[in-house]
């Protein structure tokens, strides 16, 4: 029944002074423990969030609920029982993937959210790819390029990091959709409908990635092993592409994983702006409709995605940089 709470880490946590023992557990177990812990924290947050304004029934039932409906909600959620009992029930429900029903549509909250997830994942995945494909060469150009390239490029990147996502988006719509009529200003499901959201979302990560590659290459440039490669007879190009750049990758990967949280936030805004039917748009729609069960489900699903990507990212880092074994927590 409890799929979320893995048993060994929970046991280790309950023992006093568990930390030293915790670090001796094998890495996959520790990772799972962190996952479970994070999701537990998120659920706890959601649990208390509803109760922040006093009567959770009002929040859960929606603003237009009649007193009868409120009572029904109270009964259904057991809101008159002790807090701790409610908490455990809540955890049990979420473990069974039961997030209640949408106030609007009546269907399962989780279901209506999961349906929109692939679209968002697609947007984020493509944006990540674009940010690497464009960002890495941009970073290289920033680092090794001639002066007349470096200065304007640097300025452009600074600007891209300062202007908020939605401002760029609005500008793009104005230019590409309204003025030039090249791309649809809203919608989802088609390839064209992905283009502008992707460009809008990707500008900031591209700038970040490029700057980071530049900075990493600065660090790596000092490294003696580049001199060794030259001493072996490697050409300058080979030294850069085969030795310098791969050594910048671990840092870039770590940054990409961190970037995910920006990408999700950005995706929410971008989806609303472009009426792109992803989980972000569902979340915002649900908030406007005061459909809290759906809000809860959406936040949880996003949480799971974040946790999974972090786990994957950690694993990838260990592959890319063999030194991460001892140093990592």
């Amino acid at each position: 029944m409890t799929t979320v709470d893995a048993r060994p880490p929970a046991a280790a946590r309950r023992q006093g002074g568990a930390s030293p023992r915790l670090s001796r557990l094998p890495f996959p177990v520790r990772l799972l423990a962190r996952m479970a812990f994070t999701l537990l924290g998120l659920l706890t947050l959601l649990f208390f969030l509803v109760r922040l304004k006093g009567d959770p029934a009002g929040v859960l039932a929606g603003p237009s609920a009649t007193p009868d409906q409120l009572d029904a909600i109270r009964a259904a959620y057991g809101l008159d029982r002790p807090l701790f009992v409610q908490y455990l029930e809540f955890l049990g429900d979420t473990a069974r993937l039961d997030f209640g029903e949408s106030i609007l549509s009546g269907e399962a909250a989780l279901g209506s959210v999961l349906g929109a997830l692939p679209a968002t994942l697609l947007l984020i995945a493509i944006t990540m790819i674009v940010s690497v494909v464009v960002g890495v060469p941009a970073g290289l150009a920033l680092h090794h390029g001639p002066r007349f390239v470096r200065a304007p490029l640097g300025g452009l990147l600074t600007l891209a990091q300062a202007v908020p996502t939605f401002v760029i988006g609005v500008g793009l719509i104005s230019l590409l959709a309204v003025q030039l009529g090249l791309l649809p200003a809203f919608g989802s499901g088609t390839v064209e409908s992905l283009v502008m959201p992707t460009i809008t979302l990707a500008l900031f990560p591209i700038a970040r990635t490029a700057r980071m590659i530049d900075a990493e290459l600065d660090l790596v440039d000092e490294q003696d092993f580049l001199r060794t490669a030259a001493a072996k007879g490697a050409s300058r190009r080979r030294v850069v592409w085969r030795h310098a750049l791969p050594n910048a990758f671990p840092a870039v990967t770590a940054a990409l994983v961190v970037e995910l949280s920006y990408l999700i936030s950005g995706a929410v805004v971008v989806e609303v702006l472009y009426a792109y039917d992803g989980i972000g748009k569902r979340l915002v729609d649900a908030i406007f409709a005061r459909d809290y069960p759906v809000v809860q489900a959406a936040v949880f699903v996003i949480g799971v995605v974040v946790v999974l990507v972090n786990v994957f990212g950690d694993a990838l880092l260990r592959v890319l940089d063999p030194r991460t074994g001892r140093a990592a927590a």
Binding site: S19, R34, F37, T38, G41, L42, L45, L46, L49, V50, L52, K53, V59, T158, L159, Q161, A162, V163, P164, T165, F166, V167, V170, G171, I173, S174, V178, A215, V258, L260, S261, Y262, I264, S265, V268, V269, V272, L273, L283, V284, A286, I287, F288, R290, Y292, V295, Q296, A298, V299, I302, G303, V306, V307, N310
Partner: protein
Amino acid sequence: MRTPDLRFWTPVTVLAVVVTACLLGPALVDADPIAQDLGNRLEAPTWLGGNGGLLGTDSFGRDLLARTLAGGRVSLAVGFGAATGAVVLGVLLGLLAGYRGGRLDRAIMTGADIWLAFPFLVLALAAVAVVGSDIPVLIALLTLGGWVLPTRVTRTVVHRLRGEDYVVAATGAGASDRYVVLKHLLPQVLPVTLVVWSFTVGTLVVIESSLSFLGLGVRPPTPSWGNLISDGTVYLETAWWIIAWPSIMIALTVLCANTLGTALRRRLSGAGLDPEVLS
């Protein structure tokens, strides 16, 4: 002859001008940001041929210069206020974590890691769904959005300083924890904190405008740069100036905050404070 550090003074000056202009808004412009003038809707700015005042009017005929300045008051208040709150909270936690060390340190740092991994905007949206988005609430919320960086930075600095001889000597001479922290550690932490504050202002202004743009931050009719942009999105074709000014203001503010932060960081690294701490 020491040339003035332009990278520092330019953003400071621009920011000062922006803040002053917004604060003095009503004194500068005699138009009311909320008063509607439906006979004068969607007028272009005078220098573009319309008769909408300096910056044009919006779909309700409201003067955009007044609205932009008024919106700036709100956005900057939230941004600066929340940044300050976040930094205060962060420094406190960082001092605790860095000075006490041990399990408290580990707990705070793990909490920071987990918090950072999660997209804050999503949590903020969920919170707004429940508690609404009055301005004090927004400030409190955004404070929670920015506490991690100051905590981390403070903790790193304190960690490093804790082992320094003069700190150990002070404790050995009988100084209480509070004395050591206030007299020895805090002065060293403050300069770095300033850098963090700078960057945080930029970050939080963006988050606030994103929330307001979505309609879940500052609610109309109170203007904020974010909801001004959202108002203007519909009129992109016909009255592009509506979104232009608030967009420029946001970009300018964030640019200045970032540039200022970078300049401060550079100054500090000259004084021996490790800039790597702030990456």
